[in-house]
Symmetry: C2
């Protein structure tokens, strides 16, 4: 039911090229080096809902999103799902299984038709030796993720659901756009999971924030931020 589609695995040179040249961990290198990297990278495509990998699986590849997006989530002992993060174009996952030679502890699922590039442990290891700057890029990304994740964890225990929702909305604001309208990139269900609550509570809190004149719901996925400062101050 969640079978991979590997059809264009060796037929999308352009996709592979797009992958390596647009990815933060590679794009500081010049064309010659990108060519070399391209040779060791594989492309794969996944339909909406397909799993790139699942918990308990071993794997020795780093997966980089080329086009589309991946939901990274965990399942608790009781089967409750926790949305950990959404990977967008240029971001990578699979580092735990790759660097620590262990199993995945989360699930990666395509949210929309998604193209990824994958690089094996041995290939990556060679690249890291040839181009130490790649390692630095990955270190940057991983340390930023540790930080994000620790902040998220701290918010779960120190802030109210209302506060978490409010800051989530404000964070969606595009700094270099005049508009104060944000588009929710997640379903209410995923949004609820991400901020650590239920869809019912998200619904109620959005209503409350609207009654407080802090936001205005334009459509189901569009929200106008009326008072950014007050939202953060809650």
């Amino acid at each position: 039911m969640t079978e991979q589609t590997n059809e264009n695995q060796h037929t999308c040179g352009s996709s592979r090229q797009g992958c390596v040249s647009m990815v933060p961990i590679f794009n500081h290198l010049d064309t010659d080096h990108l060519d070399e990297i391209m040779k060791v990278v594989d492309s794969k495509s996944f339909k909406k809902g397909e799993l790139v990998y699942r918990a308990e699986e071993t794997s020795d590849v780093l997966t980089i999103v080329n086009k589309g997006s991946l939901r990274i989530y965990r399942l608790s002992g009781s089967g409750k799902e926790q949305l950990v993060r959404v990977l967008k174009s240029g971001e990578f996952t699979g580092e735990l299984a790759l660097f620590n030679e262990t199993v995945h502890e989360n699930y990666a699922e395509a949210m929309v038709p998604t193209a990824v590039c994958q690089i094996t442990r041995s290939s990556l290891q060679k690249l890291l030796i040839s181009y130490p700057s790649i390692a630095i890029k990955i270190l940057q990304e991983l340390s930023a993720r540790v930080n994000q994740s620790e902040q998220q964890a701290a918010r779960f225990t120190t802030e109210s659901t209302e506060q978490r929702l409010a800051t989530y909305l404000v964070d969606l604001l595009d700094p270099d756009s005049q508009s104060n309208v944000v588009t929710l990139p997640l379903t209410k269900k995923d949004l609820a999971s991400y901020i650590g609550t239920t869809p019912e509570t998200v619904s109620r809190k959005l209503k409350e924030l609207e009654e407080m004149q802090l936001i205005k719901r334009i459509s189901s996925s569009k929200i106008s931020i009326l008072d950014e400062d007050e939202l953060l101050f809650l």
Copy 2:
């Protein structure tokens, strides 16, 4: 009030040596290389309660614990403290400010008299180029930390306080010891903060677990685990 003690900054070659040769990210290298590393590493000592760094500070060093331990914690907007992790000997911190050239977002405080080694960004960068294996070690450590932190975050939202406390206790069990007695390495207050609750609730839940015959409190910091399986099954 939280002033650093740099007295033995250049007087403890032995400490520095201990540092580099015992640290996971370096200890796979041979003696010659360790000597080279030792040259670019600084030693510092902190008294109990002193801060190695604080949020909002910039810094360009990676801090590795040599002896003692560091509490890494965050402060929420409302001033609530969240214990993120405890660094023990051989572990490092400061990677966010170091790799991303930004400010710290957490605090690092000595829990006991603590000796650390520090290495600057430029020195580390040179080392990473000379010894790519160091980068791999750090990648391993950081990806493991991303994983731990995401798991911790997921637990906050998917498990009850009782479950989090129970798994915390079981995790303290030493696998290669016959004993089923664990020693709490944290004060009740820190323990409460770490698992995302209050000291009062910790007290009550421990009492409940004892009434369920799953644990037995030996002393204030020693607990006997009577039924590991049932604790994890809660």
